[in-house]
């Protein structure tokens, strides 16, 4: 086939342009002589085909993984048999069985390769050219150079700081990666507004257990349990730390009974001995009625109560009229069933109770406390097979020497929310921004790997809030809904391209290393390098003059290479923390995981405080505190028993498990209402009405994490429960058939979804898997399922700041 002469001449004309220097330099540069003709070296830190141990971050579970890089590409991911997170949370089980049985990773972990090589990843810095912002508004991106991106972001930050407005920077980050350096940056920059995710997650649960036992995150010892009573949690599917399905099913194999209390027949309910469908928001009433039965029938562990609880008489009095008949009215669970559950729970030992995200409603913190109280009444705490306080000692955040910031946080969380968690109160910040309220008006936001529009309840409020900010930078691997509101988007890295240290989800000290198994695909800096570069450009220094973003924390030398600088940052955290090893030494350990040989310890409240520690402590009443360097009172470390022995006890104001919280008396919550000293049941605020007669809830499954993984091609192939589940009887009344398109409408908005008729949901409730309903994110995610955030009110729990994701009422009708 020959090119026609006319065409040939046309092409020759443009061919001439290349000689005029107008095309600039090309992409391909001549290789240094020595390399020419030789095979391309393998990229990434390993030799070809070697398995590299790391930790997953498809979710915050940080399960151990092994990654095989073949010819510069990640080829395989498999479980890491040296990291307990994919196996168990109890050390005996880990040491005895992991090599025999092997660890696991969940579907998301298996699908990590698809996230790394997703064609919808953000590749280059982008600047919006459309000044208008809004849901569905095209930002009209323009690709810009790294220098331009850094230059503009630095200039904006500098202008804010020079004007004495550093506090007007809001910073939102994920909570299981590179948090410390971001926290340091905010402190040195002068913003009190470093926030990280927890108020959208388990701030409510943290408050419940903090009140009861002084620990924010107790974990269940399922493998040793004989009875598991779980409220509002789907641990066999919404796995997160991926040992959950194994330890729970192993517990069942060893004779445990599993009871799931949930309005939705979850995957876990389908594997349980018993599913207890409950009316949303009433878990506290069920727990109180169970406590009533236990105390009425004398099934409690009285010696344990006498020794280790505070406020038993007040509690007993409070539940004296919380009869099963009373609870039946509230929960829709028949009284005789409540009686039976209470008896079974109290007479089977060891037993455990737990609750997670199901309690995202206005009575949630008290409900969680009431649920925890069942463990206290029956002595099911700190024993094998019960609820345990984990020993989380891992790497240590080496605090920076930063001047005190004179402004409060924008959410004034510390001042207003009695169980404020340092991660911030996202709904409150969004409300205040949208309404122009609060102690000052923030001007700029850095959003690192957070999708505020889909994770904070009340999407329209978040939209209004984001519009109020003058300048938004989003760092993300994907073009999230929130990234579409950014002024500049910076391409983030996946967990397979960067470092982190992980210390959560098991009961004894363990540190797992996440390390880069391939280089960042587009040559982009990792998030910690990005933050470090900003710190350098802004010239941020510690109070003592230390050039912290230049100085290696181990060597004390100036380090140009930001990766090397961060490696020293991590080494220092490991050296100062429990492992006392360097990053290189951690890398060399089997599975790049440091596992303390001390193992899981039970009954830690009985630990006797050593004489030498006691000698250097401060005693106030029956409580013992450690001392700060200046001699003032620091953390609670123990309590004095009536016989004078100094033991650890529980880190509550009484040193015991609190069935009654004396410190709540005369205190107020964020809305100015009195704090209740007892785990009271109060109906949640938003109740169904004639107009909006149905409860709407949402849940999680193993197939997806929050709203961030829905563009993953492999995960999209799995069974997707993105429809709206409706009870068949309810649907019949509404004239809705299976597969019909329906509207779910609340006073705040409406969303369209496909009806999924089932017997497996409470008749007063409709619900869907959280995370679907994307209008951005990528070609696979977009347009599937419904995002219930549009239906919700932007509201935080006035005790904990927890985002109330499950407190929605709707009407449902055919499209």
């Amino acid at each position: 086939m020959k090119m026609p002469e006319v065409t040939r001449r046309e092409f020759l004309k443009i061919a001439g342009i290349s000689g005029a220097g107008i095309l600039g330099n090309g992409i391909l540069v001549k290789t240094a002589k020595a390399l020419a003709g030789k095979p391309i070296p393998t990229e990434g830190p390993s030799e070809n085909g070697k398995w590299i141990p790391s930790c997953c971050h498809m979710c915050g579970g940080t399960t151990g993984i092994m990654c095989q890089v073949v010819d510069g590409r990640l080829a395989r991911i498999k479980p890491n048999n040296h990291n307990p997170i994919g196996f168990t949370n109890i050390s005996d089980d880990f040491f005895a069985n992991i090599q025999k049985e092997g660890a696991v990773i969940c579907p998301k972990g298996n699908a990590g390769i698809m996230a790394l090589y997703d064609p919808d990843r953000v590749k280059q810095p982008l600047r919006r050219t459309n000044p208008e912002k809004g849901i569905g508004v095209d930002p009209r991106w323009k690709a810009i150079s790294w220098e331009e991106a850094y230059g503009e972001i630095t200039a904006r930050l500098k202008a804010l700081r020079d004007a004495g407005e550093a506090h007007k920077l809001l910073w939102f980050s994920e909570d299981h990666c590179f948090t410390h350096i971001q926290d340091d940056f905010c402190k040195l920059f002068g913003s009190p507004n470093y926030s990280m995710h927890s108020s959208n997650c388990d701030a409510g649960r943290k408050a419940s257990f903090k009140i009861l036992m002084g620990d924010e995150r107790p974990l269940i010892d399922a493998i040793n349990s004989k009875y598991m009573l779980i409220f509002g949690w789907n641990p066999l599917s919404a796995t997160k730390f991926s040992h959950l399905p194994r330890i729970i099913t192993r517990g069942i194999e060893r004779g445990a009974r599993l009871v799931i209390v949930d309005p939705n027949f979850s995957y876990t309910a389908s594997k349980a001995h018993e599913w207890v469908p409950i009316r949303p928001g009433t878990d506290g009433a069920l727990a109180l009625a169970m406590a009533h039965v236990i105390l009425r029938d004398g099934l409690q562990d009285q010696p344990f109560i006498d020794e280790w609880t505070a406020g038993f008489e007040e509690f007993k009095k409070y539940v004296s009229d919380k009869t099963p008949a009373w609870a039946e009215e509230i929960t829709t669970i028949p009284a005789e069933r409540i009686e039976r559950l209470a008896r079974e729970f109290a007479t089977t030992k060891p037993a455990l109770v737990d609750v997670w995200s199901g309690a995202h409603h206005t009575n949630g913190v008290y409900a969680g406390w009431a649920i925890g109280a069942l463990a206290a009444l029956t002595g099911n705490i700190e024993k094998p097979g019960t609820l345990l306080s984990p020993e989380k000692k891992g790497n240590k955040h080496v605090e920076v020497d930063a001047p005190k910031i004179s402004y409060p946080r924008f959410d004034e969380g510390k001042e207003r929310f009695p169980y404020f968690h340092k991660s911030g109160v996202y709904p409150e910040m969004m409300n205040r921004l949208a309404k122009g309220e609060g102690p000052y008006q923030p001007k700029m936001a850095m959003v690192i790997f957070q999708n505020l529009l889909m994770e904070v309840v009340g999407t329209k409020t978040v939209e209004e809030a984001l519009k109020k900010l003058e300048f938004i930078v989003v760092v993300d691997t994907m073009m999230s809904e929130t990234a579409e509101f950014a002024d500049i988007v910076i391409p983030g890295t996946t967990y397979l391209e960067r470092y982190d240290l992980n210390t959560h989800w098991v009961t004894w000290p363990v540190v797992g290393l996440r390390q880069p198994v391939v280089k960042p695909l587009f040559g982009q800096p990792t998030e910690y390098e990005f933050v470090c570069e900003l710190g350098r450009r802004l010239g941020l220094k510690e109070g003592n003059g230390n050039d912290i973003f230049w100085t290696g924390r181990m060597s004390g030398q100036r380090i140009e290479d930001k990766t090397k600088w961060y490696e020293e940052f991590l080494s220092k955290e490991l050296k100062e923390g429990e492992p006392k090893i360097t990053l290189e030494e951690l890398k060399a350990l089997p599975g790049a995981t440091w596992v303390s040989t001390k193992g899981t310890r039970y009954n830690k409240h009985l630990d006797v405080i050593p004489e030498e520690k006691l000698a250097d402590a401060i005693t106030e009443g029956n409580l013992i505190f450690s001392k700060k360097e200046d001699g003032s009172k620091d953390k609670q470390i123990g309590m004095l028993k009536p016989d004078g022995t100094a033991v650890r006890g529980f880190f509550t104001p009484s040193g015991k498990l609190e069935l009654y919280a004396a410190k709540h008396v005369d205190k107020k919550d964020a809305e100015g209402n009195p704090l209740q000293p007892l785990p009271v049941y109060e109906p949640r605020k938003w109740q169904p009405s004639t107009e909006y007669p149905l409860f709407l809830i949402n849940w999680k499954e193993a197939s997806q994490t929050h709203s961030r993984t829905q563009n993953n091609a492999f995960l999209a192939e799995l069974k997707v429960t993105d429809g709206l589940r409706i009870n068949t009887k309810t649907a019949a009344k509404l004239g809705i058939r299976n597969g019909d398109w329906v509207w779910a409408e609340s006073p705040y908005g409406k969303v369209k979804a496909k009806a999924e008729l089932t017997e497996g949901i409470h008749p007063e409730v409709v619900g869907t898997q959280h995370g679907w309903g994307h209008w951005a994110m990528g070609k696979i995610a977009k347009g599937r399922g419904a995002h219930t955030g549009f239906l919700a009110k932007t509201i935080a729990c006035p005790l904990s700041g927890q985002s109330l994701n499950k407190e929605i009422c709707v009407r449902v009708y055919r499209v």
């Binding site: 600039g24 590409r73 395989r76 590749k123 991106w141 695909l521």
Partner: protein, 201 residues
């Protein structure tokens, strides 16, 4: 070196430039008559946004300009897990539509063997259409006809038409529709299988 090859490499370099980054006004001035357009330089801001939405920013308009996206299947080996709980049947095989597949590595090696590597300031992948076009241009520039022919056959020619077809069909940018049409027309002759190839230009 023959002038015919020089002319040919010039065409490759020009198209490579058009995909490498958004054009500037002086380049648009030079090429507007070829693309049957007028006052292109006045539309430069718009063309920059079009370029970004088609080839850089993820979103509904994006058309990934990578060989791997069109040619490579991502298969996860059943040996992924050692655990007895693992069910290999649930693993995907042969899913297409990803980036940085084996093609990206393969062309990277060919560039290296040809004495080239990617400019470290180019923050994109080796199987980007701009890289592959430039490479063919470089080969012709050096008179390496057979090597160019092989690269067209084994790489660029395998996917460029699918990519250009998508680009011609999009309605985000008239300018890039024309670029696609024109490059498609050029490559059609370049990839023709007859041995008279040398005379083709």
């Amino acid at each position: 070196m023959s002038t015919e090859f020089e002319g040919k490499s010039g065409v490759y370099f020009l198209f490579s430039r058009l995909f490498r980054e958004a054009p500037d006004p002086s380049l648009l001035n030079k090429i507007e008559s070829f693309f049957e357009a007028t006052d292109l330089a006045d539309k430069v801001e718009e063309i920059v946004v079009e370029y970004t939405s088609l080839f850089v920013a993820p979103g509904e308009y994006s058309i990934p300009p990578y060989e791997s996206f069109y040619c490579d299947a991502l298969t996860i080996d059943a040996s992924t897990a050692d655990s007895p709980y693992f069910q290999p049947l649930c693993m995907p095989t042969g899913m297409k539509g990803f980036i940085y597949g084996s093609s990206a590595r393969a062309v990277g090696k060919i560039y290296q063997e040809g004495g080239f590597e990617l400019d470290p300031n180019f923050h994109d992948l080796p199987d980007h259409i701009a890289c592959e076009l430039e490479f063919v241009g470089r080969l012709y520039e050096k008179g390496k006809r057979e090597a160019a022919r092989n690269f067209l056959k084994n790489h660029l020619g395998r996917w460029a038409f699918n990519f250009l077809n998508n680009l011609e069909k999009q309605d985000r940018s008239v300018f890039y529709q024309r670029v696609a049409k024109s490059l498609g027309n050029f490559l059609k002759f370049e990839c023709a299988s007859e041995s008279k190839f040398v005379k083709a230009f």
